[in-house]
């Protein structure tokens, strides 16, 4: 073959190589389409959630220790919803009257148990803290929208012997359940059923929630004992009212973990033949009276966390109570 022919072939091969390099595009130069966003996992990383939980619970701790206007500002910054209502109630009540568990008195950093799944709002973080005495506290942090940071919305100490079934992995995220979800019982209906079951003297029986846990047993027993001590001098009625907007998180086994708030009202009415009552020292401080001649009313917040299995009755796994109002005449 002649020399020009050979050159032409060589040049042709070079041209093909050049075209292949220049023209076969993205795979050669390492450029590809951006991947699509996954919307069915936790919206924030576990590291971010840990950082947020530490910050929020730290501020809540500061708020509980602060006094006056500074405390009010810190509470608004760190708390919201139920936790804010309870903390404000605790702060405005006499120190001796509150039995609330401080949610953030802990010896160890918080442990993030769950993050709500998906990119929508509201978003929640479930964090567990350990109190100095070893007791475990379940803390619910909520962010209502993109521009509002997480705040502590609910906090309750776990009862002895109580346990919560496994949640989905933090990175996977746990679905939030609508208030009126029908499986197995709507969170709001569940709270109402529990509130009715604790009423005194006429509880409304329910199969949805067990009332054999230490808190429920104590509430019922205390009411009966109080009524007994009043005898014929006065009558006691105890009403528990479920507050709206409970938060429910789906458990890995299909069950639910429901954070709710009840408002308990203890009403004492003196019998027409009764003379006067001498309440406890704490009560005297609250109502600023040493004796009662007509009636008394105590209002208490009860933060409850109910674990709902896929089948069967729910149980109270964590609870907190704070007296927020006392009136006497």
């Amino acid at each position: 073959m002649s020399r020009p022919s050979r050159s032409v072939r060589l040049a042709g091969a070079a041209a093909v190589a050049a075209l292949a390099l220049a023209g076969c595009g993205s795979s050669v130069v390492g450029v590809h389409d951006a991947p699509a966003q996954t919307t069915t996992t936790a919206p924030i990383t576990s590291a971010s959630a840990q950082q947020i939980a530490t910050r929020v619970l730290g501020k809540a701790q500061e708020a509980s220790e602060a006094k006056g206007d500074a405390a009010v500002a810190l509470r608004k910054e760190a708390l919201t919803g139920t936790a804010l209502a309870v903390a404000t109630a605790a702060a405005t009540s006499e120190p001796a009257s509150t039995t609330a568990t401080a949610p953030v008195e802990r010896a160890e950093p918080p442990k993030v148990l769950a993050i709500s799944r998906g990119t929508a709002w509201p978003r929640v973080i479930l964090a567990q803290t350990t109190e100095p005495d070893g007791g475990l506290v379940l803390n619910l942090l909520t962010s209502p929208n993109a521009t509002t940071p997480f705040r502590l919305s609910s906090s309750a100490r776990m009862q002895s012997g109580a346990s919560v079934a496994a949640l989905d992995a933090v990175t996977t995220g746990s679905p939030l359940v609508a208030e009126d979800a029908k499986d197995p019982v709507a969170p709001e209906a569940l709270l109402k059923a529990y509130a009715g079951a604790l009423a005194y003297p006429k509880p409304v029986a329910t199969k949805a929630v067990e009332t054999t846990d230490p808190f429920s047993t104590a509430v019922k027993a205390n009411a009966a004992a109080e009524a007994k001590s009043l005898g014929k001098l006065a009558s006691l009625t105890q009403v528990h009212q479920a507050q709206p907007d409970p938060v429910a998180i789906r458990l890995k086994d299909g069950g639910l973990l429901v954070f709710g708030l009840l408002s308990r009202t203890d009403s004492i009415k003196l019998a027409s033949g009764g003379k006067s009552l001498t309440p406890s020292a704490d009560f005297q401080k609250l109502v600023k009276k040493k004796t009662l001649t007509k009636s008394a009313e105590l209002r208490t917040y009860e933060t409850v966390v109910l674990a709902v299995p896929p089948k069967g009755a729910a149980s109270v796994v964590a609870v907190d109570e704070t007296l927020y109002s006392a009136k006497g005449a």
């Binding site: 050159s7 390492g30 993109a146 521009t147």
Partner: protein
Amino acid sequence: MSDLAKRASVLSRRTLPPVLTVLGLALLIVGSWFTLNLGSSGSATFEATPNTRGVVVLTPDVLNRVNDDVTVTGRAKGDGQVWVGRTTPSDADAVVGKTTRVTVDGAHVRDWSLSTRASGTGDAPATLAAADVWRQSVSGNGQVRLTVSQENAPEALVVAAPGGAVDSVTLTVERKTWFWQALLIALIGLIATIVGIVGLTGLARRRRADEKKNDGATTDTEAGSTSGSKPGSKPGSKPGTTPDSTTSTEVSA
């Protein structure tokens, strides 16, 4: 060789050298341009100058199109405070909302610029940095830099200048392979150009030789009509060398 193959061979010999030369030159220019612009580190730097009091949102279309780290530098006007946050694309949209934003969603290699589009009204939200959607954030005066790895892709970056304006945003992707690829293209272009030029030279030389021969044959033909056939010429081998009828008649007789 068939007639068709012969024609194709002739055609390729005549058309390939100029095509190769043009293509080679193009590759040489493009390859050299990329080699010079990317440098030996193979880093491509794109810039946008939004000069906005709102925020600048860099989408996955510019952050997550490669497998390499992408470094973004935000600069505030007048050495003011500048802040850069990294989050998911949907959270970036949600937190910025309908405020004034400049969205960066493409890059032009021609002038190493970032393509932008403006939308929304009002200044950037004051609580932007306080939102709990950021996976990472940095802030400082004058300029700050944040590197996006691809492990959490897709992601978006939000650049804001609280109380001031975002002057410019620079995006740099470093990929050493790009330098070698550009260099290789330039080299292939150079080879193709040289080969093309050699081919063109050969073609020109052949054409000149043919023309020369054609000129010679014409002269010989003219001479043969008066003095007989040219010594050494083969009957019917090339135009202009055919023995004339007079000579042929003499042989057959």
